[in-house]
Symmetry: C2
Subunit: 287 residues, 2 copies
């Protein structure tokens, strides 16, 4: 595995790749099983895999944890190598933003719902850094986890509306045995909260069952999921939303693919989870 | 020469081009000698040349002439073929913007000077459509005329700051025998105005001479050019500006490459012209 730190070297490797297909997994590092499942899938479907590690300041708000965001380059390099990464691209800040950006990507669609509502400008920063990274790495395929379903949806819009020559792939949320979505934040749960946390996914599975049963009114589903979370967990519900997917629009009847997404604040950890469904309730695992 | 109207067909041609180099000349059609000089240069430097014709609504203001913008596809196709275009890409509006864009490119640098000052949002529209076109055509080289020096500068920023894998080339302004910059608008000049119009370029050449003489204070040059234009033409001066280039910043001393740019409103035609100089006064013809 090569570790590359400059844009010029990265572009040179891409130019020399010629007719090989490139799979790209952009990350902010601190790689866990979720990232590595993306790498493994990318490895299967492409001639070689580039993973980037860049903690992108543009996507952090003024009160967010950019400085405290966890970094462990040595461990990341080990994980990446084992998972099959061919090129690990780790540009420094000055390499990606040598001066104040005079050009910006603004994402106006699908950002005022779910987690985006409380993070104004977050997806502009995501769009800007991904535009740069896609131009540098020139991948055929790029891979995102569906755990962050809003991010997948926004990147899907970005690629589609700006005609990037890149195919986006959304891969299933990686879960613990009991269904809890894997997250580096799970370690901050108390023992009791960890027991309760399984009800995030349980409530989503119950919602799926209700859609299969033929419930077409989003309000009913939202209410039932909210009730279950309130009953079964001590966490504070941040949101329970049911939206069209990937357009992320409010709907009054379930007649197209949907997302049901939840966020629950526990004492030390805010957990998110979601499920994607066809209008008949069939689960969508991969996009 | 192939005429292509869909993005999918255009992308397919690009994919099949493999290791051939692609030169790209984006235009809004109504091709004249200026455009064709770009095509001819692109032809020399690349294996094949794509020219696009798309009158981009996003770069027109609400009071500008989008509907009246001249269009003549048949004549354009003839000109393009003769100049050596291999693929003429003419997408319809619905092909480029099938729905309202939820993603935008915002250009914050180099837009509040020269012609951009009176066209808010113009370069956002230029940046957005070029991003789409670069992704569709995937050129190695793209060609712009230096007559529209601000556009060249903005596209230069766009490519540099977003790391597009594209090299931008700026080609010399094409001029009449007497030095007047070629423009489709020249036909709207009266006979007397046409005589006067040569003083646009004459004043710029005089400015060059003054920089060669060692004048380092922009204000002196601006004043002398303004005086000459006022004396020698009946037009109304819109602006005379001297800025760093391509950053387009105000400067107090000439110590880096500069642009001296002018715009003069005649009865029926607004003419623009410019000259690019090294700090010692040497003319920059190509970028």
């Amino acid at each position: 595995m090569k570790i590359i730190r400059t844009i010029n070297e990265m572009k040179q490797i891409v130019n020399e790749a010629n007719n090989k297909t490139i799979g790209f997994v952009p990350t902010m590092g601190f790689l866990h099983e979720g990232h590595l499942s993306l790498v493994k899938e990318a490895k299967k479907e492409n001639d070689f895999v580039v993973t980037s590690i860049f903690v992108n300041p543009l996507q952090f708000g003024p009160n967010e944890d950019f400085d405290e965001y966890p970094r462990d380059e040595e461990q990341d390099a080990n994980h990446a190598k084992q998972a099959g990464v061919d090129v690990l691209f780790i540009p420094a800040m000055e390499e990606m933003y040598p001066k104040k950006m005079g050009i910006k990507i603004i994402v106006e669609e699908g950002t005022d719902v779910l987690c985006g509502r409380s993070r104004p400008g977050h997806f502009d920063g995501v769009g800007t850094v991904l535009t740069k990274l896609f131009h540098i790495v020139q991948p055929n395929n790029t891979y995102f986890g569906l755990k962050d379903a809003q991010q997948y949806a926004v990147v899907h819009h970005l690629i589609e509306q700006l005609n990037f020559p890149v195919k986006i792939n959304g891969l299933p949320t990686v879960r613990e045995q009991d269904g809890l979505a894997k997250s580096s934040r799970n370690v901050y749960l108390s023992d009791i909260e960890r027991q309760e946390a399984i009800f995030l996914y349980e409530s989503l599975q119950y919602a799926q069952k209700r859609v299969v049963d033929g419930i077409e009114n989003p309000d009913i589903i939202i209410k039932e999921v909210t009730n279950m979370l309130q009953e079964k967990t001590s966490g504070k519900i941040d949101y329970v939303e049911l939206l069209s997917y990937p357009a992320l629009q409010q709907i009054s009847t379930i007649t197209e693919p949907i997302i049901i997404a939840i966020a629950v604040q526990f004492t030390q950890a805010r957990l998110i989870d979601n499920i994607l469904l066809q209008p008949n309730g069939t689960k969508i695992d991969r996009l």
